[in-house]
Symmetry: C2
Subunit: 339 residues, 2 copies
């Protein structure tokens, strides 16, 4: 036994029905075993609150990766190494990894990434300087390849990835339109992040607003939401356009997911719906972070974060807020251990 | 006035409801005006019976190209020049073009393509040697790029394009699976066209058959049908796979088209749904036809045709048969003028 106290961890209590509710989760405290050879112990500082979790906790055997009742809730965390029998990690190192929603994690180092908080604050390594920003960077620049003067639509524009993708598209010289769920977030997208146009998809005439904002049609649809916003937008796809399939947050919690019935527009427009997974670009993260750092330094890029202070048991309410659209940028749960 | 007799033409009587019925069309006979400078007169020999017509006659203003009640029915025809005031065409030339369902057409030559029946019989210039075969050729080789040993699924495999796409995929060394609507067509695909596996999608266990036939998943889905067959198949798409969007025949006649709800599989598999239009390849038709001729000559390719003898007023019943799945390969209406 060690003297670190107990590990708080969050488990799936039952499969959610629709939007996840607080009682779909259950927290517990367990003893932390001593680390053995090659292992290290990590104290969590930040937990990334990601919409994709809702897909992973579906009561469905269709997807390869899933969390079932009794399993720990999947999440990326950023934390500090507080004990190590692993030659690659020292006490005091900062790391990120998919260690789940818990305060203390034991790891053999596999899949962990070291973070240098002097490059960017620790929490941002889960957000704009981490998987969210890197996703936006490679999905946009390598898969969509925006050109100056082109028109880019970002759905879920105020989200973790969308808030980065829109800024990157502006840096590429594109006209950038975003859809989001409130007037307040629309104002934020335009005033803080430099979106050219932001549209509240809850407005009855949102599609007419989009049509008016895109007289030359949409060269790129950077889609984080799926659902009717993506589907209607397909009618405006430009010749040889790209619909980048980054996420489908509007569908993850539906009993029956719905597909984009307007997909036949892709045909006549020689366009494509492109899947993407960030891990394929793992060897180029450093290159992207160098660019991101330069843009931050010269004031042309922000790393939007929406930080919820709390402990492990506060994760469910943060997750609920995410699907209520409360966040401006990356949602992070900041644990007591974080400075 | 000339002494050619009258032109029989087929018009849309009213927008079809569901599958098109015979009385959605109406034929009429009109005088043929004399051709003026630069014009030529074409006698139709073959009419291509194409599923895409059902999309064009939808009661919807969503699509740019449409046929409305009172308009001539859109179709590609192959015929003979019987009078010409155009220096580029002589009497006796054979041509194809989108001249509509009528026995005599006046044209200024624009959009017409000359056919050499010594290269391939005239009817085939609408089918395997024409737009259907060229579509299969460029969509498969240029957009999907099948590699030896890969697995290719062709939906609507016995159709005009599908029957060519499957043969091309075999020539590329792929394992080829086709879906179609009857046991008889399954046998034909395997025995006549060399498909490795053919599946009747009306079988209750068709998906299990597909899963069993594709243990290494599907590198290419060459989709002619859309609907549930395409949607279910998406669950088997391989890493970096391509879903080539060639047609959506199952959707053209639906009041509400449905989209592929399994599209999110494209995400995790880094796959893409790719739109395609044959006209982009117009400058390379000769190159493709040279290859096609070589394969025909060495016995490794067939140009499957399903010929209905009849006159202009028989087009509606041929079109109905098409959606009933009666055709093996390209459906052609062979008019009395054809030898």
């Amino acid at each position: 036994m060690n003297n670190l106290g107990k590990n708080k961890k969050l488990l799936l209590a039952k499969y959610p029905n629709g939007l996840a509710e607080l009682d779909d989760f259950i927290s517990e405290e367990v003893e932390v075993p001593n680390i053995v050879d090659n292992e290290l112990l990590i104290q969590s500082h930040y937990v990334g609150v990601d919409a994709a979790l809702r897909l992973i906790v579906r009561d469905s055997d269709e997807f390869l990766f899933r969390v079932q009742p009794g399993d720990i809730i999947h999440a990326n965390i950023a934390g500090e190494v507080i004990a190590s029998n692993n030659k690659d990690f020292e006490v005091g190192d900062f790391v990120t990894g998919a260690l789940g929603v818990q305060s203390l994690s034991i790891s053999n180092g596999e899949g962990l990434e070291k973070c240098d908080p002097s490059l960017s604050p620790l929490g941002s390594w889960l957000g704009g300087f981490g998987v969210s920003g890197l996703t936006a960077y490679f999905a946009l620049f390598d898969e969509c390849k925006p050109q100056p003067g082109e028109t880019v639509l970002v759905t879920g524009a105020a989200g973790a990835v969308g808030s980065m993708a829109g800024q990157f598209a502006k840096l590429a010289g594109a006209k950038v339109i975003g859809t989001t769920s409130s007037k307040e977030k629309c104002d934020w997208l335009v005033n803080e992040l430099g979106y050219d146009v932001a549209i509240n998809y809850k407005d009855e005439n949102w599609y007419e607003q989009l049509e008016a904002a895109a007289p030359d049609r949409l060269n790129i649809i950077f889609d984080n939401t799926g659902g009717s916003v993506m589907n209607e937008s397909l009618k405006l796809i430009a010749m040889h356009g790209v619909v980048l399939l980054c996420g489908s947050t509007s569908q993850y919690y539906q009993d029956e997911m719905s597909g984009p019935s307007n997909y036949i527009w892709l045909g006549s427009m020689r366009a494509r719906l492109q899947g993407f997974v960030i891990f394929d670009y793992a060897e180029r993260y450093a290159e992207a972070r160098k660019k991101i750092s330069q843009w931050i330094d010269n004031g042309s890029l922000k790393l939007p974060e929406f930080v919820c202070d709390g402990d492990i048991e506060d994760f469910p309410s943060a997750f609920k807020k995410l699907f209520e659209g409360k966040n401006f940028g990356k949602m992070l749960l900041k644990l007591p251990a974080a400075k």
